[in-house]
């Protein structure tokens, strides 16, 4: 196949499926207990320089507790996939964790506004950026999950998103049309927050999936954080609900409210008040440093952070906001 054109962006990770196969050959298939403390899981499986993916959709079912722990442990020189990263990358920015990012969506918190702290990292030239689109990144995870070196798509053609991306344009061997090939993205580590998991790492979640199933299938190491651990018996009674089976998973950590202050579908809604605080405090460097110390560095763990933000009472309020959807139906 002749390459007609290519983007100038770096390919941060080797898309060779045989190298991936050599790794996955060594990955344990034993259904053993993988329960760990989040601190130990991050320490054991996420190393300086690794490329990682956080599951969820920025402030929806995102592993925010893990993002705090990564910052507390002072990880550096990390690569990152920004597959609609909003509050998660805002937290990571507080620690200056990353130096290269595949960007579909970063810096913004959707309609809430832009994060100045995140912007700073991208504007001071310290981050190598490769532009992408949401479909582009989704296909890169899918290609890796399929064990193929690339997948084709018909989006981004003609744009600067393509020019500053890592796709290559070829002529389709069947139709003669121009088509973009995106390289497989085998991340070193994925962290995915779910509703329920068992001790072995079988995990299930509700609501939107984003690309989390493909991400779990393609990352070399997978850390699951779960709102609740449930008995294995309970899990396997409904195998069709298990989105991420144990053999993909290296560590499973019980982290109640692990997506807070983001939303966890059917559990709690986002804490918009606290998210506004995160955004507004970034305007003042001194206040920001103090805020990050208080809410990230001085917290031993996520429980302590949640307690500082109002604890169970606040979460009960957020649960009512989330569940008012169902209330409306009954009263509607």
């Amino acid at each position: 196949m002749t390459i007609l054109d290519q983007g100038g962006g770096e390919v941060f990770l080797d898309p060779d499926p045989d190298k991936a196969r050599a790794f996955f050959r060594t990955k344990s298939r034993k259904q053993t207990t993988k329960r760990m403390d989040l601190r130990d899981a991050i320490e054991t499986f996420l190393h300086d320089g690794d490329y990682f993916v956080l599951g969820g959709f920025g402030a929806v079912r995102a592993p925010i507790a893990a993002a705090h722990e990564i910052v507390r442990q002072g990880r550096r020189n990390m690569g990152l996939a920004g597959h609609t990263s909003t509050h998660d990358i805002q937290v990571l920015s507080a620690g200056g964790v990353f130096d290269r990012v595949d960007v579909a969506y970063v810096v913004g918190l959707e309609a809430r506004g832009l994060s100045k702290a995140s912007r700073n990292h991208f504007e001071n030239g310290s981050v190598r950026v490769v532009e992408d689109s949401n479909h582009g990144l989704a296909l890169r995870f899918k290609a890796a999950a399929m064990g193929v070196p690339f997948l084709p798509m018909r989006t981004t053609l003609g744009s600067d998103t393509y020019r500053y991306g890592c796709g290559k344009t070829v002529e389709c061997p069947y139709t003669g049309k121009r088509i973009v090939l995106k390289p497989a993205l085998y991340a070193d580590v994925a962290v995915i927050h779910v509703h329920e998991a068992d001790l072995f790492g079988n995990a299930r979640f509700r609501g939107i999936q984003v690309s989390d199933i493909d991400v779990a299938n393609s990352a070399k190491r997978v850390i699951i954080t779960a709102e609740r651990l449930v008995p294995h018996e309970e899990m396997v009674r409904q195998p069709e609900t298990i989105g991420i089976p144990y053999y993909l998973v290296d560590a499973v950590c019980e982290v109640p409210y692990g997506a807070y202050p983001g939303t966890m579908p059917y559990e709690y809604y986002s804490d918009e008040h606290h998210l506004r605080e995160w955004l507004s405090v970034e305007a003042d460097a001194g206040a920001y440093r103090e805020f990050i110390d208080t809410y990230v560095f001085d917290c031993a763990d996520h429980d302590e952070y949640v307690m500082k933000c109002g604890g169970p009472d606040r979460l009960a309020q957020l649960r009512r906001i989330e569940y008012s959807l169902d209330m409306e139906e009954r009263h509607g």
Binding site: G56, F57, G58, A59, V60, G82, T84, A104, Y105, V106, V107, G108, E110, A111, R112, S118, R119, F122, E123, G125, V129, E131, S133, N134, H135, A138, L139, K142, R154, T155, T156, L157, G158, S159, D160, T161, Y164, T169, R178, I179, V180, R206, G207, I208, Q209, V210, S211, D212, I213, D214, T263, P265, Y266, Y269, S270, E272, E322, L325, E328, E329
Partner: protein, 256 residues
């Protein structure tokens, strides 16, 4: 005549573009309000999709995130991003609404960086997200935006999402699916389409209270004008009542 603000007018105008039985990929905010209004006014079978995976929700309440559970409440799918992007790629999504910091006369949109050097941007913006994909795949792309010279520019600093690129035939030459592309730009001052021969922005109607001069002064490139030039139909009492009472009762998006 009913009293209304410009955001209300823009949402109402946008809602009228969406016919019953069509499909639309939307984000949160004004586009979502427009889709909700269309469903309640004239398009009960408008199929609404959110790129994080929510499809066909009953939108009793406006979502804050494109991924929160309101985007699939009583819906037909809470799926993956590919569950949205694939029907877009197959040609099953008719409309989308996009936003951005800059737009040019061909409807090319910038939502990535401001400044001449993308490696050292003056302002880093979110990037494409799903916008480029929607702009590449959907049959008709619409933009809702405030009308000013900072946004309506001769050249976008970064072409995040493709409009008609540099003119007729350019999308097809680049390899994008045929017959797709920009359709409407709905601003506080005017409703704008694209002239068939040149693929350039053409003002279709002026919103009540605005003149050609206002629009010209607030646009950084030469616009084409429909002849005859229309006047945008203001919101009806019904449209305003539903928008205010049922869609955004807290006036988060429509303001006061």
């Amino acid at each position: 005549m009913a009293d209304y603000n410009e955001m209300e007018l823009m949402i109402v105008v946008a809602s009228r573009q969406l016919e019953d039985g069509s499909s639309v990929g939307v984000g949160t905010g004004a586009p979502c309000a427009a889709a909700m209004l269309a469903q309640k006014m004239h398009a009960p079978d408008l199929l609404i999709m959110f790129e994080a995976g929510g499809v066909g929700p009953e939108l009793r309440r406006m979502p804050i995130s494109v991924g929160d559970s309101r985007t699939h409440y009583r819906g037909v799918r809470a799926g993956a991003m590919s569950d949205i992007m694939e029907p877009c790629a197959r040609g099953m999504v008719d409309y989308t609404f996009l936003g951005g910091a800059q737009i040019d006369m061909y409807g090319n949109i910038n939502s990535t960086v401001i400044g001449p050097d993308p490696a050292k941007p003056k302002v880093r913006l979110p990037g494409s997200g799903g916008a480029n994909d929607y702009a590449s795949y959907c049959w008709r792309t619409m933009v809702m935006t405030v009308h000013d010279r900072r946004r309506f520019v001769e050249r976008v600093d970064f072409l995040t999402s493709p409009g008609y690129l540099d003119g007729p035939g350019a999308r097809e030459r680049a390899g994008l699916p045929a017959d797709t592309g920009p359709y409407r730009v709905i601003t506080n001052m005017a409703v704008i389409g694209y002239e068939e021969a040149t693929k350039r922005m053409q003002v279709l109607s002026l919103n009540p209270g605005y003149t050609r001069g206002d629009v010209r002064e607030n646009t950084g490139f030469e616009l084409l004008w429909a002849d005859p030039l229309g006047e945008t139909e203001p919101p009806s009492d019904d449209e305003l009542r539903i928008l205010r009472n049922e869609i955004d009762p807290d006036r988060i998006f429509i303001g006061r």
